[in-house]
């Protein structure tokens, strides 16, 4: 599942005037089709391309990174002929977790689509906001280049496994009502190579990443507070995605996930098959939010409980992008027995609305 993180204001547009824009409803039974589904689905309200992963420098240093592009379709009067009409708005985040400094470097871009400055292509993945870009080449590999004020990522992602459809063949329920859902697939075990520039110095990196692709028109139930999500690449080639949507006031509103075994068979996890148990918390001095940065994830596969302890690379991986109108959340590189991945914690500062 995934994520997120649209500016509070943006999300509210749809809440304020859902009647104006006829958003398509996410329904079960749709078959994913590639490469078209790598590209944008502009009719839906929100969509994202979300890459997270672990990098290793030539010197053997571990780094975590995320590169995310969001697309949203605000609810507007569609008759406005202006070229500036905000029919599609694109956002992007990038962050680099650096254990040597134990802090997160991050940057962002945002623009309304148009004028050749920002665009999300349909038919195949190619999303661009000014100088930031994420695209899929015809040979199937993905590439991104993002430059923030204090770091630059230029990374190639080579798929080693086929896409992993989440939920029922790509239909992923998020809440008690069937339309509270998204179309969702992941590409685990992407082989990474490229360059990271920090403080003016380039280093070559290799690593392993995870791509999440999700689009929806009605993502969060009104009674939802936020979610915990994790995507883990295991050394044996298996991959786990698990999420839970937390209810306002406490408790779990919905949960789900999938485990792809080394053999390639997929165990789909229902709402009762996934549990998250906080092990350690970290309080952000910047926002005051308290995050369960270390958790035990339990899943039930074929009646058998499997557990993984997630340990963060370091605790301070909160991303505070409120200055640019985006929410506060925690997105961090985590380790577990026999694998590594990312943990995402949202709605700990205040409830998300999507």
């Amino acid at each position: 599942m995934r994520r997120t993180l649209l500016p509070g204001g943006l999300a509210a547009i749809a809440v304020a005037a859902p009647a104006v824009t006829p958003y398509p409803v996410v329904r079960p039974g749709m078959a994913l089709a590639f490469p078209a589904d790598h590209g944008a689905h502009p009719a839906f309200r929100t969509e994202w391309w979300y890459v997270t992963g672990w990098l290793r420098t030539e010197a053997g240093e571990d780094l975590g990174f995320q590169v995310t592009f969001f697309r949203t379709r605000p609810s507007l009067d569609g008759r406005n002929p202006s070229r500036f009409a905000a029919t599609q708005v694109l956002f992007a985040h990038a962050a680099l977790s650096d254990p040597s400094t134990r802090r997160l470097r991050h940057g962002e871009r945002a623009a309304r689509e148009g004028f050749g400055l920002a665009a999300a292509r349909t038919g195949d993945a190619d999303i661009r906001i000014r100088d930031w870009r994420l695209r899929r080449a015809p040979d199937g590999h993905w590439a991104t280049r993002v430059a923030a004020s204090d770091f630059t990522l230029a990374l190639d992602f080579q798929p080693t496994q086929p896409p992993l459809p989440q939920g029922a063949g790509g239909y992923s329920r998020k809440g008690p009502r069937p339309e509270q859902a998204s179309y969702y697939y992941s590409v685990p075990h992407l082989r990474v190579s490229g360059q990271v520039r920090r403080d003016g110095r380039d280093v070559a990196v290799t690593g392993e990443a995870w791509l999440d692709r999700e689009w929806s028109s009605d993502y969060l139930a009104p009674e939802a507070q936020g979610w915990d999500w994790t995507g883990l690449n295991f050394d044996d080639g298996s991959a786990l995605m698990a999420f839970r949507i937390r209810r306002k006031g406490g408790g779990t509103l919905w949960a789900g996930g999938s485990l792809r075994h080394p053999s390639g068979t997929i165990s789909t996890l229902g709402s009762r098959d996934v549990a998250f148990r906080p092990l350690a918390t970290w309080r952000s001095s910047a926002t005051g939010a308290v995050y369960p940065v270390s958790q035990e994830v339990s899943v039930r596969v074929d009646g058998r409980i499997m557990r993984w302890r997630l340990t963060p690379m370091f605790a301070a991986q909160e991303l505070d992008a409120r200055r640019s109108g985006l929410p506060v959340y925690w997105e961090g590189a985590v380790r577990t027995t026999g694998g590594r991945g990312y943990l995402e914690l949202t709605g700990y500062d205040q409830a998300l609305r999507m």
Binding site: A12, S82, R83, F84, R112, L117, R130, S324
Partner: protein, 842 residues
């Protein structure tokens, strides 16, 4: 101190001398100190007001511009093609670019600047222009891209009497659109009346599709950005920095401000002359005392320092009082008249007095030096007098048989005239003011010569009454005394007459010009960017009683980023030249293919556009026009260019018109036709159209003119009062000093009535001489004001119109005041017994 005992006692005597003078002549000290105080106060007040007004004006400009480092701005409200935006955003050195639509708008009666912007871009480039919604449990409806949301600055919110959550109707570009006040602009300048909506909404709702007005920039490399943008910008856009915008804002009012500063300095100069008069008289009166001290061992420098100490004291007291008074004046002026002192330069800004320590120190120094310089010359004169002769002689030190020198005056006047002919320095007539100062000094220096030349024929006459003959002989025989009394009068009169002549010439020229340009019977004009569309225009033309309608469009057009925009006027001009256009120069022949443009006189002078020249105007991406003529215009100081309506429409596609001049059919009454035309207007336009008759417009224009010269009138009045006070002070001091002479005359058989008549004649003669000299000098100075200072400051010319009434009044007032004070002072001097008066002699 190792001084000789003699010298020490001389110093003691000096202390007594000054102390005694203070005790027995406090009025003399006070009046001279007041003369300095008035000069300092005026100068400081004018400077403070200007500085404060400019500061708040700057603030308002910054508030609307959101403090972007560099902006691309359209040269006219027609905007620039929006496809420029991606090219600018992609230019080298540009980090981010925020496109913007800018409109003059109103909500009800409140005016505001409406910006249409992309919140994502502005959030990165000019965050102060981005609104947020107050956070609260019930405000889940904030919408940054919502096309009905409006964010208002606090000032705009207050002026529109609106609150967050209200629905308000915003009128701009002739359209009225309902918005929902979604929040405030907490980062915006508190004083700026500002509204922010989405750029797409602004384009769509206010008829600006495809156009933007401004692109604010965030830069990574300013030099690279300036170079790359200079290459890619079209002619109808300019690159503008904050400094250029500040210059643009202050350029219009700069000449006005400098002129006021100069006038205030001139008041200070007059104060200096008054100090000189008063000190000269005091020195003359105490000549015997000084001589006595000299014989007791006081050195020459001791005498000089005695007089100088007095001057410094007067200077310090006067300058300090002046600073306090100036601050008070500035406060009062801002409180009651506003920052532009009524001249209309700083329309919207509300102003507080900003204390300026450097200016205070400068004006203190100026006041002090005026007093010190005014004392220095008399001090030298006192020190030069030979003690023995001075002890015996209390009379005039100037030998009446020696002719008064005329050449120093002539040299100064010639130097002044030469300086006045020099060109302006960066748009300011500094040499003009220098020329005026030199000519003033020359005029004052020539007063002794002038007085003697004028009195010579009278003095040679042997007919007439005894008192009048005595009066004439006295003045002729003691020219230095008369000259000292006169120089203060001449200086203040000359300046006053110069100002009065300039203002009356200017007002006369404006009046005549208004009569010429307001030739139509009725005028209709729109506000808030409303315009008459073609359908409305057709309906208006068909109104009963209407003979002919001329439609015009007026827009600001930026030629250079750091200069205020000129006015672009489009009206039917090509066939059948408009009789209302008063051409002062025209191109000899025009090629038929050339597009004609008529430039106003200020535009010609500012941009050097001469008839017959081909110029490029930033219109429709840059168009070449040929200057067909130059027209007189006192209305638009920043310049104006006039193009034919058809050419304008063809070039820009803009079919809106915002002004109509109406010629009526014979036998129709303007008021009735105006009402009939109003009925023809669409209801929503009617509120934004003002229908006026030429007489009203003319009255309004002249009221505005008088208001902008209100400060000038005030300074003039102060100059007159200071001058008259000077006359009174010098006349009475001189008269009182002549007590023994009066006793002698009484011995010789003159009655007190005859003495009074003598003094009245003397006073009148002095006053008249001063008035004639002052008026003559003033008329010369007026020529500098009219032909040098005005054209160089405001870029318009005019012909001289002498305010004869004012001249006669001033002459009469001076003569009368001098005579009256002489008689009044004479009463005191002649009141004593004649025998006693004479016995004072020894």
């Amino acid at each position: 101190m190792s001084a000789e005992p003699g010298l020490l006692s001389a110093r003691l005597a000096l202390g007594w001398l000054i102390g005694g003078e203070w005790r027995f002549q406090p009025a003399r000290f006070l009046t001279t100190a007041i003369a300095i105080a008035v000069g300092v106060a005026l100068g400081f007040a004018v400077h403070l007001v200007n500085g404060s007004a400019l500061a708040s004006f700057d603030g308002a400009v910054r508030g609307v511009s959101g403090a972007a480092e560099l902006s691309v701005r359209a040269t006219s409200p027609l905007g620039v093609d929006e496809r420029l935006y991606p090219r600018v955003a992609g230019a080298a050195g540009v980090l981010d670019a925020s496109p913007m639509v800018r409109l003059d708008a109103r909500i009800g009666g409140a005016k505001l600047t409406l910006l249409g912007l992309d919140v994502l871009r502005a959030g990165s480039v000019t965050p102060s222009l981005v609104g947020i919604t107050p956070r609260g449990p019930d405000t889940g409806n904030d919408t940054v891209f919502d096309e009905a949301s409006l964010f208002l600055s606090r000032t705009a919110l207050a002026q529109a009497h609106a609150a967050v959550g209200d629905r308000v109707t915003v009128t701009a570009n002739g359209r009225a659109v309902i918005f929902h006040v979604a929040g405030t602009l907490p980062g915006a300048d508190a004083a700026a009346a500002l509204g922010v909506v989405d750029i797409a909404a602004a384009q769509w709702r206010f008829g600006r599709l495809g156009r933007i007005d401004r692109i604010d920039l965030r830069l990574s490399d300013r030099q690279a950005a300036e170079a790359s943008l200079a290459r890619l910008l079209p002619a109808d856009a300019v690159l503008s920095s904050e400094a250029a915008r500040g210059a643009q804002g202050s350029a219009l009012s700069r000449a006005y401000r400098v002129n006021l500063d100069m006038l205030a300095l001139v008041a200070l100069l007059t104060g200096g002359f008054l100090v000189y008069s008063a000190q000269s008289l005091a020195v003359a009166r105490r000549q015997r005392t000084f001589a006595l001290l000299r014989t007791l061992g006081l050195s020459r420098s001791g005498v000089i320092s005695a007089v100088m100490v007095e001057g410094v004291t007067i200077g310090i007291v006067g300058a300090l009082a002046g600073l306090a008074g100036g601050y008070g004046l500035a406060w009062a002026a801002l409180h009651w008249f506003g920052g532009d002192l009524g001249a209309g330069y700083f329309g919207m800004a509300t102003t507080r007095v900003v204390f300026q320590p450097v200016a205070a120190a400068s004006f203190f120094a100026l006041g002090l030096s005026a007093a010190v310089l005014g004392s220095a010359i008399p001090a030298r004169a006192a020190a030069r007098a030979a003690p023995a002769a001075a002890l015996k002689n209390v009379g005039d030190v100037l030998d009446p048989r020696r002719p008064a020198l005329w050449w120093p005056a002539a040299v100064l006047l010639a130097a002044g005239a030469a300086a006045a002919l020099l060109p302006a320095v960066s748009g300011l007539p500094l040499f003009g003011f220098l020329g005026m100062a030199l000519m003033l000094a020359g005029g004052v220096a020539g007063v002794p010569w002038f007085a003697r030349t004028m009195l010579r024929p009278l003095a040679k006459r042997t007919v007439g009454s005894v008192p009048s003959q005595l009066a004439v002989r006295h003045l002729y025989g003691a020219p230095a005394e008369a000259a000292t009394a006169l120089c203060g009068i001449v200086a203040s009169t000359a300046l006053m007459i110069a100002m009065a002549t300039m203002v009356s010439s200017f007002r006369g020229a404006v009046d005549t010009w208004l009569g010429q340009v307001l030739g139509a019977d009725l005028y209709l004009r729109t506000d808030a960017g409303a315009s008459f569309d073609p359908a409305t225009r057709a309906r208006l033309a068909g109104t009963a009683g209407v003979g002919h309608l001329a439609f015009s469009r007026q827009l600001p057009l930026t030629i250079a980023a750091d200069r205020p925009p000129v006015s672009l006027i489009a009206r039917p001009e090509r066939d059948g030249r408009d009789p209302l256009l008063v051409l002062i120069e025209r191109a000899p022949t025009m090629p038929t293919k050339a597009l004609p443009v008529w430039v106003s006189e200020p535009a010609q002078r500012l941009y050097g556009w001469e008839p017959g020249e081909t110029i490029t105007l930033p219109l429709a991406g840059g168009t070449r026009f040929m200057v067909a003529g130059v027209w007189r215009d006192y209305g638009r100081q920043a310049g104006a260019v006039l193009v034919d309506e058809a050419d304008y429409q063809r070039l820009t596609g803009d079919d809106g018109r915002d002004e109509i001049s109406v010629m009526l059919l014979p036998g129709n009454e303007a008021g009735a036709v105006g009402k009939a035309m109003a009925v023809q207007l669409p209801a929503d336009l009617r509120r934004h159209v003002e229908i006026t008759q030429p007489a009203t417009l003319r009255h309004m224009a002249l009221t505005l003119f008088d208001r902008s010269f209100a400060v000038t009138y005030l300074l003039e009045a102060v100059a007159i009062l200071v001058g008259l006070a000077g006359v009174a002070a010098t006349m009475s001091a001189q008269t009182i000093a002549r007590e023994r002479e009066f006793g002698m005359l009484r011995h010789l058989g003159l009655t007190r009535g005859q003495l009074s008549a003598m003094l009245a004649t003397e006073g009148a003669l002095v006053g008249m001489t001063g008035a004639v000299a002052g008026i003559g000098l003033g008329l010369i100075l007026a020529q500098v004001l009219i032909h040098v200072i005005n054209p160089q400051s405001f870029n318009w010319t005019m012909t001289t119109q002498v305010p004869v009434g004012t001249l006669l009044g001033v002459a009469a007032a001076l003569t009368g005041a001098a005579a009256a004070t002489a008689v009044l002072a004479g009463r005191r001097a002649t009141a004593k017994d004649a025998v006693q008066s004479v016995r004072e002699d020894w």
